[in-house]
Symmetry: C2
DNA sequence: GGCATAAGTTCATCCATACAACAAATGGCG
DNA sequence: CGCCATTTGTTGTATGGATGAACTTATGCC
């Protein structure tokens, strides 16, 4: 990040010089991405048709990907059509995997995904990590990761990297954790503490915000069908948020974007004692307003609401309205056409929907032309772990040749 | 915008196949951008050193740019240093220009910039366009543009395109204007209406939001010194906003991003009648609160404040606090480290600063690690016109070969 | 069995960049 | 004043990667 040469306004993504090698890297990544993201196996000819590359070029690229152990061929399928049958290409299984890890308020876990996005192995442990000791917790995480990694190497699967999800502000990629209010952590050198347990074989893990990674998993789950741009809000103990644009996480300058939980609302005319979204729609706030103890599980809250318990219903109305107003603010600023409710909000969605959509319809300036759609998360349980592994796999797909062999990366 | 093939999460910018031609285009744009953005003329060798390309390659690229009329050589300068003197390269003057146009509430104008970013010619007319007739106003704009274009062609300057700034929501690039509240326009086919006057020689003008373009001009003015990422708020009759990330305008999916004027604030606990930022910090709101007529010029307001007139001071305190709270929301969502006040806010900056920074310090979650900085606009008068021309020039810089000769673009 | 069709491969060609050698233009120094 | 070091810009040749056309392989259809 040293070069800050200005341009005529915009700085292009591929800011550097393009050599022929860049070209190979780009097209290699392009074909691998096609193979990985295809809903049904593609042939070399399919890829050529879709990308505009010639069959000859695709053939050469695919051969290289097969040699790298990233793509595999299936048996040719007789298509019921004239012509030589196509050879279906699929992401290779059992050769590489990435680790998604997570420390959250009431659980901790490790999940390994292969290139196809399938779970290869995982370990999750419940616990209570409010006001916990980072060293102790990360120790426990590292041991958990150790068992998963042992399993992988026993199966001959190469580990390409790992990413740790944390419910707080993470500085850049390798920097320290700045603040995780619900864990009670502040300025913790997570990577340094994990370095004592070289579970990734020396590769330092990436760090990221839990909501950002959950949103990444969500984007992956919707890559074929759903909207490519959306705001993701997850109600956990805190309120997390992330923005997805064209399938990519938008984290802002330092990856601290999407902090929707701290949007200011309800200010009583004076802006000094205004509450944030978490004060209206955080788990604790909802439960307090509903007259339930703080430790009440979401299912119990849901039951209370469905039993038409008035205080519970009122609490959700307040939460929904605040959530809708905050989301409207976000949508006005970043202009997306879709909102995805995750975490607790997904469970409670049917009881939030009316208030949320009402606020969106009322407050989003572009609503008259394109109403903001609302849906619930599809990414399954522990989406941040999935997202962490996907983040690593994405980096691999972007530069398939870079991960081994060619460059001396020292993957012991 | 048809291809929506999903990836492993992210969709890369250069989504298509890369041919050798893409490579040439990229590097051609890279060297042209270096020349255009350099604070002091660079030599071929300088560019080679900065980009990593070889001197031979840069030489070839520069020769092509000279042939295209986009770059010019100056006389070699004796540097007082051993070795052959370098040939300084500068953006060509007087060969190409782009048009920035603007229709706003109380003026309308056209400005032509050359590749060096200098004003070649401009015409600005005052007026009152509240509740105006689009056909009539655009007619007037077109005639104004006509005189500027005539001047350019008399001087032998080729017009590469134009961009029109409007104070409202513009759909995508070529789509219609959706809503410009302060003009009283709604769903106006601006491009269609302008087509009657082919001032651009048949090239349809691009449309964009006024604040987005002003922010682009601001980013250009700060490209060498200032922050590459910031939130820009301009107080005009309405409150406009835009987000700049790494020097590029972030307009969201449809270019409707940055609508900071409609962020919800001050909701009194009930989210139904809450006011937006414009209700606290819009020009009309400030003047009303100050007890001044709506038509009061900003200078008069400023004079009242500096005369310590209590109602005026109170009005600015409210505006500053609301502005700060709204900006804090935006910063929490998009994570930028800098805020730029433009338009009226720049004039009033010294009387807003305390309240704005106070709110930012209080409400931005990352403030303890990196305080949000505040500064006033540097882009000069009518920044949106400058930004519009710059937007066109940027497109030219991104694909220098594409604008003429090679492709049959029909620039009559 | 012959023909049309489609997939995948082989080979000559092209294009843009890298690399190396060279020419040009200057300052420094004896 | 002449030689050398130094830096710029140019001129080849080599290289890597994509292209395009021809060819091989494997199927369905008549």
């Amino acid at each position: 990040m040293s070069a800050r040469a200005g341009h005529l306004g915009a700085r292009r993504a591929g800011g550097g010089a393009a050599r022929q090698q860049s070209l190979r890297q780009h097209n290699l990544g392009l074909t691998l991405r096609r193979v990985v993201d295809a809903p049904t196996p593609l042939s070399r000819a399919d890829i050529a048709g879709a990308t505009g590359l010639t069959r000859a070029t695709v053939s050469a690229l695919v051969d290289r990907l097969i040699a790298l152990g990233l793509v595999a061929e299936l048996e040719p399928v007789v298509a019921g059509r004239a012509g030589r049958p196509a050879v279906p290409l699929v992401p290779a299984r059992g050769t590489v995997a990435a680790l998604g890890m997570e420390v959250n308020v009431d659980y901790l876990g490790v999940r390994a995904l292969d290139l196809a996005g399938e779970v290869v192995s995982e370990r999750i442990e419940a616990g209570d990590f409010r006001a916990s000791d980072p060293t102790e917790v990360l120790d426990r995480l590292a041991r958990l990761a150790g068992t998963v990694v042992a399993r992988l190497s026993a199966d001959g699967v190469a580990l390409v990297g790992g990413c740790l999800a944390l419910p707080g502000l993470v500085d850049s990629v390798t920097g320290p954790l700045r603040l995780a209010p619900n864990l009670g952590w502040r300025d913790v050198d997570v990577v340094g503490l994990l370095a004592a347990h070289p579970v990734l074989g020396g590769l330092p893990p990436r760090l990221a915000n839990e909501a950002d990674l959950a949103a990444r998993a969500e984007a992956h789950a919707r890559r074929l069908t759903g909207p490519a741009s959306f705001v993701y809000v997850s109600g956990e103990v805190g309120v997390g948020g992330a923005i997805v644009l064209d399938g990519a996480i938008f984290g802002g300058r330092r990856g601290w974007g999407g902090e929707i939980g701290h949007v200011v609302l309800g200010t009583d005319g004076s802006f000094d004692q205004g509450g944030t979204l978490e004060d209206y729609a955080g788990q604790d706030a909802i439960l307090t307003r509903a007259g339930l103890p703080r430790s009440t599980p979401v299912t119990a809250l849901l039951a209370a609401v469905e039993a038409e318990e008035p205080r519970a219903r009122a609490a959700l109305h307040v939460a929904g309205r605040a959530l809708g107003a905050a989301l409207a603010n976000v949508v006005n600023v970043v202009d997306v056409e879709h909102v995805v409710l995750g975490g607790t909000y997904a469970t409670l969605a049917e009881h939030l929907r009316a208030e949320v959509t009402g606020q969106l319809r009322r407050r989003v300036i572009s609503a008259p032309w394109a109403e903001v759609e609302l849906s619930t998360a599809l990414a399954g349980q522990y989406p941040a772990m999935t997202g962490g592994a996907l983040a690593v796999l994405e980096a691999l797909v972007d530069d398939p040749a870079g991960w081994a062999g060619d460059e001396p990366v020292e993957v012991r």
